[in-house]
Amino acid sequence: MKYELTGKPDYALAEITLEAGETITAETGAMVAMSANMQIETKAKGGLLGGLKRMVTGESFFTNNFHPDGDAGTIKLAPQAPGDIDVLKLNGESYLMQAGAYLAHVGDVEIDSKFGGFKSFFSGEGFFLIKVSGNGTVFFNSYGGLKKVSINGSYIVDTTHIVAFNEGISYNVEAVGGLKATFLSGEGLVCRYTGEGDLWIQTRSGPQFAGWINPFRPVKKSNN
């Protein structure tokens, strides 16, 4: 497998070349273009139960597997939202990733839906995390720019700006400031990280944009 990331950082595209016998697994809808010898197979990842679990985290029920028939083949993948793409090379490590950040993987990579913490239920921000582990290459994406932060000690991030982080860093979802700040500040929930490791954040927030566009939606007509 060879890859090239083009269109960075605002409209990134992953251009991947697979040798015969190699397979890439991608989030549904991620395929932009591919060579004519690529075969597609749609699967409920991890069986029916795994598929249902994936739906809870806001991912799609299915994933697509692509492999070239005969010779080598190419495929171009892009995320739904405009933004950047980066790559994690796994050699036995694990990362936690916001559910929407997963784009694709090649190799022996396990994807597990992991609950982001009880408090996240109240955030309304869909702070669900998935765990990626094993040996292989994982492609992940951001909404907006991607910024890597090396944590050594502690660091605080708005939950809607989190993309991915080393599993080894401990984290706690909490409100920002005191009670007054929580209700009036307009800042939602934050994640307080403690430990050592890498964290990727995105420079724009999906839920914040959804909140901005809301007043422009038409109002439902009442039948009464």
């Binding site: 950082p9 605002d10 405009p82 933004g83 907006g144 720019g145 910024k147 932060v149 000690g153 502690s154 660091y155 605080i156 991030v157 708005d158 700006h161 920002v176 400031g177 005191g178 007054k180 700040a181 009036l184 500040s185 307009g186 800042e187 939602g188 307080r192 954040i201 420079t203 724009r204 927030s205 914040q208 944009f209 909140g211 901005w212 566009i213 809301n214 007043p215 422009f216 939606r217 038409p218 109002v219 439902k220 007509k221």
Partner: protein, 228 residues
């Protein structure tokens, strides 16, 4: 305070590096991340603060701007990162006390604590424009961080110059302005240009390449209706 802007121009983010016990003020919701020594307090006070704070806060509420501003204070020297909601750039403007800057309310992102901040009505005519109705006037010396929808650019106006109201980011208060219709009645109704602002005098004018209300009106009708 040191300001570092990354990911320009499409998805810009501003890292504000604070000295020990230094503060930065921001609009609600702009904080992306921060070092753990930073504490947040929320108040109705304008950055200039003082006894007039609450009244100014009320004035901000009346003009539609969020009533509350957040103050981030670093206890040991750390940083806070701020980003706007929409796609676009972030610009740092240092004010030295010789010129005041009038900022379209949604273009304001953050500023240093020392700046005086006061809201101003945009004038009756702007009530009909459907654009942001009010302006925030910044005076004194300090750092100001603005955001734009799309790219940001400026023109040093000398004479007179016309801008679509939705494309104004900020301007020096040495400029006079009035909101007016473009062309005649036919042009106003059919040109799609709506109301414009005519500036006159001498001073710097900052503009954005896109109009946020126009984007909202483009996308909104394609979304499912809301309950109320």
């Amino acid at each position: 305070m040191k300001i570092e802007i990354q990911n320009r121009p499409a998805y810009a983010i501003a890292d504000v590096h604070l000295e020990m016990n230094e503060s930065v003020i921001s609009e609600g919701g702009a904080m992306v991340s921060m070092t753990s020594d930073v504490t947040v307090s929320t108040s109705a006070m304008s950055p200039g603060g003082g006894a007039g704070g609450l009244l100014k806060g009320l004035k901000r509420m009346l003009t539609g701007e969020s009533f509350f501003l957040n103050k981030f204070t670093s206890s040991t020297g750390g940083h806070v990162s701020f980003a706007p909601t929409l796609i676009g750039d972030v610009e740092h403007i240092a004010l030295d006390g010789t010129k005041n800057l009038i900022v379209q309310s949604s273009s304001y992102m953050a500023c240093s604590e020392g700046l005086e901040m006061d809201t101003q009505f945009g004038g009756m005519k702007s009530l009909f424009s459907g654009e942001s109705l009010f302006w925030i006037k910044f005076s004194g010396s300090g750092d100001l961080i603005l955001n734009s929808f799309g790219g940001i650019f400026y023109k040093d106006v000398d004479g007179s110059f016309i801008v679509d109201t939705g494309h104004i980011v900020a301007f020096e208060d040495t400029l006079e302005y009035k909101v007016k219709k473009v062309g005649g009645l036919k042009a106003t109704l059919l040109s799609g240009e709506g109301l414009v602002t005519e500036f006159s005098g001498k001073g710097r004018l900052y503009m954005q390449t896109h109009n946020a209300s126009a984007f909202g009106r483009l996308l909104g009708p394609k979304l499912p209706p809301r309950e109320h």
